[in-house]
Symmetry: C2
Amino acid sequence: MQPIAVDAMGGDNAPTAIVAGARRAHEERGIPVVLVGRPEEMGDVGDLDVIEASEVIAMDADPGSSVRTMKDSSLVRAAEAVRDGRASAMVSAGNTGATMASALLRTGRISGVARPAIATPIPGPVGEPTVLLDAGANAECRPEWLVQFAQMGAVFSTARFGIERPRIGLLSIGEEAGKGSPLVKETWGMLDAVDWDALGAEWIGNVEGRDLMGDEADVVVTDGFTGNVALKSVEGAAKNIISALLGAFDSSDEAREGAAMLLPALAPLYERFNADSYGGAMLLGTKGVCIISHGSSGDVAMVNAISIAAEMVEGDLVGKIGKAVAD
Amino acid sequence: MQPIAVDAMGGDNAPTAIVAGARRAHEERGIPVVLVGRPEEMGDVGDLDVIEASEVIAMDADPGSSVRTMKDSSLVRAAEAVRDGRASAMVSAGNTGATMASALLRTGRISGVARPAIATPIPGPVGEPTVLLDAGANAECRPEWLVQFAQMGAVFSTARFGIERPRIGLLSIGEEAGKGSPLVKETWGMLDAVDWDALGAEWIGNVEGRDLMGDEADVVVTDGFTGNVALKSVEGAAKNIISALLGAFDSSDEAREGAAMLLPALAPLYERFNADSYGGAMLLGTKGVCIISHGSSGDVAMVNAISIAAEMVEGDLVGKIGKAVAD
């Protein structure tokens, strides 16, 4: 396997935590990795190879224009390494839009894919995470794109979480077929007409926001505007509730003592709900595996992201998506 | 004050818990209440008056056709009592769409209001709840409706939570003005042109899903499709996290002991995050105060809903909304 290209300059903790995670993925798990960025800022990279890139696209930079003008940026160079076959996948905790744009512009779309989508796993208390897509790549969508998102999401759910017969839901505001926006109503009919058996998946109709963390569906399809709002609503609720809990746990000596006794019971939940455990979101539909990690990623998140990238390359995710949308 | 009309037949716990809550609101808080529904099913209503209604609109019935055909239903009779001045407000934990439709068809819209909207308070760990609207009344919206939602939401935030200068945000997928769907982009410009000072409010631009439980905005405006998805995403996340926590609390003797020690610290959080504390959502824009309580409402939720209804009547919410949209 060609190495995983890791954008050493992207993310709130770059480059230190990114390089540390990349080294751990290589040294502890034997995954081939190549770092992309400014070698002079990376510190000790151990045995890892480096692809030099002199520019860094800022977290808040405009994605389109950055990727067009900063041709020697770590993101663009990472995407070029994938395009040229020197790397088998790219991973970045940097600017989400620029990661997407560089992958799209340099490696291009899989034949037959109209639009790539961001697939984000949302963990819940029971079962495997639900894959939400599009989580923000396309603010406006056509119904036929959503059908492809569903096909790509089904393939990803099987490849990533081992779901044998992923249940596909369409995000709406009521379970009945007639409920929702015009986009949802039109998409419902098209999804209902797909031969999901042939793809090894199951179409379950409309689902609601409450099902994102539940165990009703394995793949939830929506446009990138609604998906991004829903994802951030879930993330914000989780963050605010957990922060309120941590405050309560630390509010008195008695509470601190009680919290300490609960620690063994809470640790597995922390692991399950922690975004770092999942390594980030996946861009589906481009000719190359591309993982978009949280900006706040530390070394553990990077180890997981790189491991998942390697797994998706070995499982031929790109080839399987191409086949699913062509069928 | 004319009494608050309470739909005794609506909700998962109707009529027992609804009647119990109505009696408590009257007996403990001195609020005038009239029950609407089937007297023979209500049990002991104490001193409360009853408006008889022989039909009950089921929780899952089609709202429009139910309201049109079931003219002697508790919801339609409650709305008529408000229209005829025999009641000053209506409260129901029944079918949301039918509650909305009966209020809209019987009492009508406030002059100048294009579309009523459902305003739902979302509590967070800090500060007063954020008012989200439209939480589901209108799956498709025009930009000018969203401007009115913002005006109505500002009035409601002040009346309901005492916010002196409510901060108005537009729900989008990025904070910059250019981010979002075509509806958001067009609405942004219209909201930016409103004289918010004159209304005693402040326009803060785009906000994101993560801000719904945060303390960034007091009023968050969106279309009813996005709003309903976001609300249910937040509710689902909260429910799933809390259910996972309760499972952990009960997973061993040590955990149970720790949880017992944490109880005093957790009780205020439970109160703060419990939907029952807020009595439900409010339909804004109709000629009458209309509260749409959670279907799962018990007697405490009903006491709170009836109290809030009385408070909104006394504060002339309807008159203030009429003034805000006319200015």
